[in-house]
């Protein structure tokens, strides 16, 4: 019996739904897993069931799964408690691993965010920043591994259920678990001729494709529609392989993060685009586009315009 604890920080909950999306195989795994803490599904409380304890506490566990980025002091303390009590920490999802979409917030200061929310929103009656007893924000969005040591990283927004399941199975069997170091393009069934047909453009009209088929569609980048497939780790297609956005005839936006630790998607993309004859400088909003899901250590507040 393996004891599992799960916690979430600044999240959307999609990672948790992805755990449920393991579906029936999850029911088969359940007899060997004992969930001891998981706020989305069960009522174990951090300060005791009737709030009798004065210190936050989670039970000892073999595996600790954490999702979401670190955005306030409370997130940080909880991450540290998870680290203390769990033998193995799995950081699940692109928020936990690279900051995810919330890390786009790193382009702005906390003061700018407050201004927008409490004074400048159209429907808002302007007020002071709420402050009474609220937890302190961190100065920016951090990924979990910037705050505690992580043993297994599973990126994705959300990560595929297959990856989550195989990580759990590997741990149950005492085997190691690793992810492919290939790009989304490596699993993309489209036709590539290594030469763009047209200039890069925004995805404001449909690419050319035959409904129901992917194998005769020309690569979206070559059709001039910016696709981050070349610089993004494959996996979203699960066992069917075909990348999920491509299945909708839509370009990749990089939600699985860099192909391997230490890769630089900005540089990789520049290379990939130039090699088919496209000019990356034509891309609107380049900084935020190339760092869409990985801004925790990369994005900094914009200079005031």
């Amino acid at each position: 019996m393996v004891r599992v604890a799960e916690e979430w920080f600044a999240v959307c909950g999609g990672c948790e739904v992805s755990i449920l999306d393991i579906g029936e195989p999850l029911l088969d795994l359940l007899p060997s897993l004992e969930f001891v803490h998981m706020p989305v599904l069960m009522d174990h409380k951090l300060y005791g069931q009737t709030g009798e304890k004065s210190k936050m506490e989670i039970p000892d566990a073999d595996i600790g799964i954490v999702t979401g980025s670190i955005r306030n002091q409370e997130n940080k303390e909880l991450a540290e408690e998870m680290r203390r009590k769990c033998k193995i920490i799995i950081s699940l999802g692109s928020c936990a691993n690279f900051g995810g979409i919330p890390a786009l917030g790193n382009m702005y200061t906390n003061a700018q965010i407050y201004d927008t929310n409490y004074r400048n929103d159209t429907s808002t009656e302007a007020g002071e920043n709420p402050s009474e007893g609220l937890p302190a924000l961190t100065d920016r969005v951090y990924s979990v591994n910037e705050v505690i040591k992580v043993d297994i990283s599973i990126p994705g927004c959300p990560p595929t259920p297959e990856w989550i399941a195989s990580a759990l199975v590997a741990l149950l069997e005492g085997k190691s678990f690793s992810l492919p170091e290939r790009s989304v393009c490596d699993d993309c069934p489209v036709v590539r001729e290594k030469k763009a047909k047209v200039d890069i453009r925004r995805p404001l009209q449909a690419p050319e494709f035959t409904p129901g088929r992917y194998d005769n569609m020309r690569c979206l980048n070559e059709q001039g529609i910016l696709c981050l497939g070349p610089a993004t780790r494959t996996g979203c297609g699960g066992s069917e392989k075909t990348p999920r956005c491509i299945k909708a005839y839509m370009p990749c936006r990089g939600c699985y993060g860099p192909i391997r630790d230490g890769a630089n998607p900005m540089v990789d993309m520049m290379g990939a685009l130039s090699s088919v004859g496209l000019d990356p400088k034509q891309i609107e909003d380049r900084m935020a586009t190339f760092n869409r899901f990985i801004g925790s250590g990369r994005l900094r507040p914009m200079p005031v315009r």
Partner: protein, 480 residues
């Protein structure tokens, strides 16, 4: 003075805690529900190309990504000044129906079911979906299967079920093929069967046992907001907004005119703002005399709609009204209303899948950037959701205003929790069953605190005044 910290509020979406303060006599002096997340979407959407918004705003919520995706795509349509072709519109609506099914199943069985199937004061280690799986293994297996199948249906239609990409400004990026349509119909029928089973099961084995709790715990008096077609029929994707007061008087208005009705209060003790209907007067959460307060979500939609367009759900609506009347205020009946909507969503999905136009390959019109403002509104499983964007002449976002369902319910959630705590905690006596029953009033709203805290370090603060025998507020504390 004694403080009870219940952290986290569990089996809801997002992180929160409740702080209850007891005075020296053991009575509740205050109670708060604090949401502990921070993001900041309304700020960091500024500068992004508006066509990226349907892909960025999905990350507000992974449980209702479709609602944000669709409200965002509709706001983009308005910014670009286009109307999607019929097939594009219908594919969006089909996904909306399936997403409703998936989420209502998730909420009823995975999040709230433990309280009813196992009992509000059952041991906390079994008061959950794992407990249900032990007690009712066949039901649980079927529920897991059908919920997962709904997600799979969304993948067939749109490629990606969580954080989808297929709704684009001007329509839908992926036409539905005839083969896919044929594959989907039996799946939708299977979901309809589960919907029928669920409402029958609940009416027989769940609600009767808790009728006293339902009629007393969390009950408050508010108005309601929901979407209806011109003739007053319930609609989940598009229509007019109907704002109905507690006495049943209502006004219908276009979503783009929401600023004439909805205003948001900033209170010092909560990061989440408090939307209210400014036409009804100055905002007040006083339970004796609430002002401007309205609710969204399942019960609100059931209350405002004159009728439902599909036969099985309409029959259930009639039975519901015959039992409880029309201006239903009992918070725990959100669950019953949710099951009526589950039925409606399944019927609606089948209707759309049988529409010959759904496989038309013309699903999308091209768009051209311009400086404009666009409002997109849809019903999310948790209630009315509004996205409002303004762009410059390159089509880059210059401002974004989002009012999400759980924010709309912020004041009512506070009021319901306050009511429940007053009712249940007396003379310093409480146990985990009582505290869980207080939590149940929060769960009824199926709150998505990730959504609510999209804009700032959201604390959905709930301030519980403790009141003495004469109804005098003894003490009012704010967040710790």
């Amino acid at each position: 003075m004694k403080e009870i910290v219940i952290q986290p509020v569990s089996r809801i979406e997002g992180g929160a805690k409740i702080t209850i303060t007891l005075d020296d006599t053991g009575n509740v002096a205050d109670a708060q529900v604090n949401v502990l997340e921070l993001r900041g979407f309304e700020r960091f959407c500024i500068g992004r190309p508006v066509e990226e918004m349907p892909r960025i705003t999905t990350r507000i919520c992974g449980v209702c990504p479709w609602s944000h995706h669709l409200a965002s795509a509709k706001a983009c349509d308005a910014v670009f000044g286009v109307t999607p072709p019929p097939a594009g519109r219908k594919l969006r609506e089909l996904c909306n129906s399936i997403a409703f099914m998936e989420e209502h199943i998730l909420h009823f069985y995975f999040l709230s079911g433990g309280d009813f199937v196992m009992g509000p004061d059952a041991d906390y280690m079994v008061r959950n979906v794992f407990g249900i799986a032990q007690k009712l293994p066949d039901v649980a297996r079927n529920v897991v299967k059908v919920r997962h199948m709904c997600a799979h249906m969304l993948e067939i239609i749109a490629g990606k079920a969580i954080h989808p990409t297929a709704a684009v400004p001007g329509g839908f990026s992926k036409p539905l093929t005839e083969a896919e349509r044929k594959q989907l119909i039996p799946m939708a029928q299977q979901a309809l069967e589960l919907a029928k089973f669920s409402i029958d099961y609940a009416k027989k084995s769940i609600f009767p046992a808790y009728i006293d709790v339902i009629k007393t715990v969390g009950v408050i008096k508010t108005g309601f907001l929901g979407t209806v077609k011109n003739d007053g029929t319930m609609d989940m994707y598009d229509g007019k907004l109907r704002m109905m007061d507690a006495d049943g008087k209502y006004e219908d208005f276009e979503a783009k005119d929401y600023l004439d009705y909805i205003s948001e209060k900033v209170l010092p003790w909560s990061f989440v703002k408090f939307p209210y209907n400014k036409k009804w007067g100055e905002f007040s959460m006083d339970p004796e005399n609430p002002q401007g307060i309205f609710r969204v979500n399942t019960l609100a939609r059931i209350n405002v709609a004159d009728k439902i367009s599909t036969p099985l759900a309409q029959a259930e609506l009639e039975e519901f009204r015959a039992t409880f009347g029309r201006q239903v205020q009992a918070t725990l009946l959100f669950h019953w209303a949710r099951l009526i909507e589950l039925l409606y969503s399944a019927e609606k999905a089948i209707e759309l899948l049988n529409d010959p136009e759904i496989t038309n390959t013309n699903t999308r019109v091209p768009v051209t950037p311009r400086a404009a403002r666009g409002v997109g509104c849809t019903e999310a499983p948790r209630g009315t959701l509004i996205h409002d964007y303004t762009t410059d002449d390159k089509g880059l976002v210059t401002s974004a205003n989002l009012i999400v369902a759980t924010c709309m319910n912020n004041a009512p959630i506070n009021m319901s929790v306050k009511q429940a705590a007053k009712l249940l905690i007396k003379d310093g006596k409480y146990d985990q069953g009582i505290l869980n029953t207080v939590e149940m009033t929060i769960r009824a709203y199926d709150p998505c605190l990730s959504c609510a805290s999209h804009d700032l370090n959201g604390q959905l603060a709930c301030k519980l005044d403790i009141v003495d025998a004469d109804g005098e507020v003894i003490e009012t504390l704010t967040n710790k």
